[in-house]
């Protein structure tokens, strides 16, 4: 490979043979490094795959259920053919009849006062008593609100009449590969814990394929019975939190970043501020929770009304703020100086230049950083516990001053219960949280692409 150039030989350079040996070594070292990095990447992918599989495993699978009263029996008792009519398709009137047949009148009256069953008539109360109650100083919610829907009543029937009880639930992979092992399993459970299952025979056990994450799960509020619990309240809570986090962190963070990058003079005070922002980005989230509790929940209680969506949203906003500032600063810094010079040289003010040329170029970067920060905030649990997210709540948040819960709180709570079913719905809620994050990221990518296309 070498050509005789006739140049004098410099002994500090390797001879041709030495060079070939060295070249071989270098090539091998490069190959080793490449496979090393591939291995590390595989580890990362494996870790993520295992994580996802665990969640999926718990979210889907077979369950063995016994019902206090079988839905078919209920349908038949109303005179319908259970082969044609399902419990779900019954009318609201029928369902109320079923409910009335299975609960005490006292419970029925309580439910009616919470929310009435029909617009035009009463199901449990007498009219006189109702008028009296509603005329009192503190009339219950049922006096003013609308009536329950068919779905609401169906849920009550399931909760109070059908009373499904899960004997055992099986993971996704187990369910697929398990074969006949379940029957033995159930028999074993009956045998070992007769005091828990005194009234049931093996024939009453139903095996059902169950996707714990399903539309009903997403659209129903929480419940004290895992089979009936849903995450609507938690999803809405998380959505409100994201809204306030973004509303607070993005304008404040981007504004601060613009000031620091474009306007701040280099002096001690600004250096000090910058250093502190960098440090704040690393402060553990629980400390933000302490701060949120002290400031938003306690000190500003007259404004925030205590443990409300806005207190938690602002706490999460503070938590994301340093990251938003830093990533926005980086995005702004990456804009070539020639654009600033070009703008200024035309007689533009600093702000005109920044707004028209620097920010549009920086927006994709700002978006990326912001979304990552907000995504982290969605998953935060510790600060929310401190600022008082409710563990059990079935009322949807409707505004900044509502009580709320959030997906990670719900997951944390469910996962801490010992029964297997709670683990299942905790996994399903985790999956829902992951999907929410993916959607958020998708929005970011779309926004970014739209912006980038405009620029070039």
């Amino acid at each position: 490979m070498s050509a005789d150039t006739g140049r004098p030989v410099d002994r500090n350079f390797p001879t041709e043979d030495e060079y070939q040996v060295l070249l071989g070594k270098r090539t091998r070292r490069g190959t080793t490094a490449k496979f090393g990095f591939l291995f590390l990447l595989s580890l990362a992918v494996l870790g993520l795959a295992v994580l996802l599989m665990t969640i999926i495993n718990d979210s889907f699978g077979l369950v063995a259920v016994v019902n206090q009263q079988e839905p078919e029996e209920i349908v038949a008792s109303l005179g319908y053919d259970p082969g044609e009519v399902t419990l779900e398709s019954l009318s609201k009137e029928d369902l109320v009849t079923v409910l009335a047949g299975g609960i005490s009148n006292g419970v029925g009256r309580r439910l009616e006062r919470e929310q009435r069953f029909f617009e035009d008539r009463l199901a449990f109360e007498t009219q006189d008593k109702w008028d009296e109650v509603c005329a009192s100083d503190e009339p219950p919610a049922g006096c003013s609100g609308g009536a329950r829907s068919q779905g609401d009543v169906l849920l009550l029937v399931k909760e109070r009449i059908v009373q499904p009880d899960i004997i055992a639930s099986y993971g996704f992979f187990n369910s697929i590969l398990g074969g006949n092992a379940f029957k033995d399993d159930i028999a074993g459970i009956f045998e070992n814990t007769p005091e828990r299952w005194p009234d049931y025979t093996f024939d009453e056990v139903r095996f059902q394929w169950r996707a714990w994450l399903n539309m009903t799960f997403v659209t129903t509020p929480s419940s004290s019975i895992p089979e009936l619990a849903g995450i609507r309240t938690a999803i809405l809570g998380s959505a409100w939190l994201v809204l306030f986090t973004v509303l607070f962190a993005v304008p404040v963070g981007v504004g601060a970043a613009i000031y620091l990058e474009e306007f701040a003079k280099k002096n001690r005070i600004n250096d000090f501020i910058q250093t502190n922002i960098n440090n704040l980005a690393g402060v553990p989230s629980i400390i933000y929770g302490m701060l949120g509790l002290a400031v938003f929940v306690r000190l500003l209680e007259p404004l925030t009304q205590g443990r409300t969506v806005i207190s938690a949203g602002l706490t999460l906003g503070l938590l994301t703020l340093p990251v938003v500032i830093i990533s926005s600063q980086e995005a702004i810094r990456a804009v070539p100086n020639s654009l600033r010079q070009g703008g200024m040289a035309l007689g533009a003010t600093k702000w005109q230049t920044v707004r028209s040329h620097v920010l549009p170029v920086a927006v994709p970067g700002i978006l990326t950083g912001t979304i990552l920060a907000v995504a982290r905030a969605i998953g935060e649990t510790a600060p929310l516990i401190l600022v008082g997210a409710a563990g059990f709540i079935t009322v949807d948040p409707t505004g900044p001053f509502s009580q709320f819960t959030a997906l990670p709180i719900q997951i944390f709570q469910w996962a801490s219960f010992p029964q297997k079913e709670w683990q299942n719905i905790a996994a399903a809620a985790s999956l829902a949280l992951l999907i929410m994050l993916l959607l958020l990221n998708a929005v970011a990518v779309i926004l970014r692409n739209r912006y980038s296309r405009r620029m070039t």
């Binding site: 070539p336 654009l339 010079q341 200024m344 040289a345 007689g347 600093k350 028209s356």
Partner: protein, 301 residues
């Protein structure tokens, strides 16, 4: 006087001023010196004992220059002698470099542009600049030109703006090449076209002076020739000051040439000085200084 209120960029300190900046800058001097001996004629812009520092480092020292109306003046000299530094201090673009500091006076329309109370934004609006590397905005060709006009308070209609854009592009000899794709990105043009777009952008705001820092250094000979023709065309309406490394270019287009050189001062710093500022034909045929002669004949060591 610009239509805008004095919005101060970096010089807020002096804005609440006794001086109404701009009044003195708004034309009226042009041609005032017909018949007056050249040395006494007031130039469009003049530096008096100007020193520029970057931190402690004195980049150029004692610069006295008087640029004339409707002329092309060239700044030449070896690399690092401070040509760009001088050019940037003529429209206060040096203010964008935090460590830069200018001493002495730069007189524009009878007033020192470094006096307290002068808004650098107005100075830059009257002394436009074209950079060594073309830097069109990542916007459409049309917007590249319309933006500078708009932010300076253009009051005309959409159609008026179309005219302004077209005239600027024609002046920059770019109209024929881009008239069918004004909506396309300025970045989609070739390097030479981009540079002409930047020139069009600079002249569209109707400055007094166009400062150009090696505008042709990234261009091929044909594009370079086009830009030179363009400068000769523009000089009817504008005063042009150009930094160039290309001595043929200076000889071809400029009316007057300033030669800078670096000297080691007693602290061992390389500070730039003005060696000679003469009409171009004189400087190239009959230089007064031996340094100049060495440089233009390539005997520079």
């Amino acid at each position: 006087m610009s239509d805008q209120p004095v919005t101060t960029g970096e010089d807020a300190a002096g804005a609440a001023g006794e001086i109404r900046p701009g009044m003195a800058f708004s034309g009226g001097f042009r041609g005032a010196g017909e018949g007056v001996p050249e040395e006494l004629r007031p130039g469009v812009i003049e530096t008096r004992g100007m020193n520029v520092y970057y931190g402690d480092f004195e980049a150029v020292s004692g610069i006295d220059l008087n640029f004339q109306y409707n002329e092309i003046s060239a700044l030449i000299g070896p690399s690092g002698c401070g040509k760009s530094t001088v050019l940037r201090s003529l429209n206060r673009m040096n203010d964008l470099i935090p460590s830069a500091r200018t001493e002495g006076e730069v007189i524009y329309h009878g007033e020192n542009i470094y006096a307290p109370g002068v808004d650098p934004v107005e100075i830059r609006r009257r002394l436009g600049m074209v950079f060594q590397k073309p830097n069109p905005f990542p916007k459409s060709i049309y917007d590249n030109i319309a933006w500078g006009v708009k932010i300076n308070g253009f009051k005309g209609s959409r159609a008026d703006m179309d005219d302004v854009v077209q005239r600027a592009l024609e002046q920059a000899a770019l109209w024929d090449e881009v008239k069918d794709k004004l909506k396309e990105s300025g970045l989609s043009l070739s390097g030479g076209q981009q540079q002409r777009l930047c020139i069009a952008r600079a002249v569209a705001t109707q400055p007094d002076v166009v400062l150009m820092d090696e505008p042709c250094s990234a261009l091929d000979p044909i594009a370079t020739l086009r830009i030179e023709e363009l400068m000769l065309e523009l000089k009817k309406d504008y005063s042009i000051i150009i930094v160039t490394h290309n001595m043929q270019q200076a000889a071809r287009v400029s009316d007057r040439t300033a030669f800078f050189n670096v000297e080691l001062d007693n602290r061992g710093m390389r500070t730039g000085h003005l060696v000679e500022f003469s009409p171009t034909d004189l400087l190239f045929t009959n230089p007064k200084q031996t340094q100049t002669e060495d440089y233009i004949t390539g005997r520079f060591g």
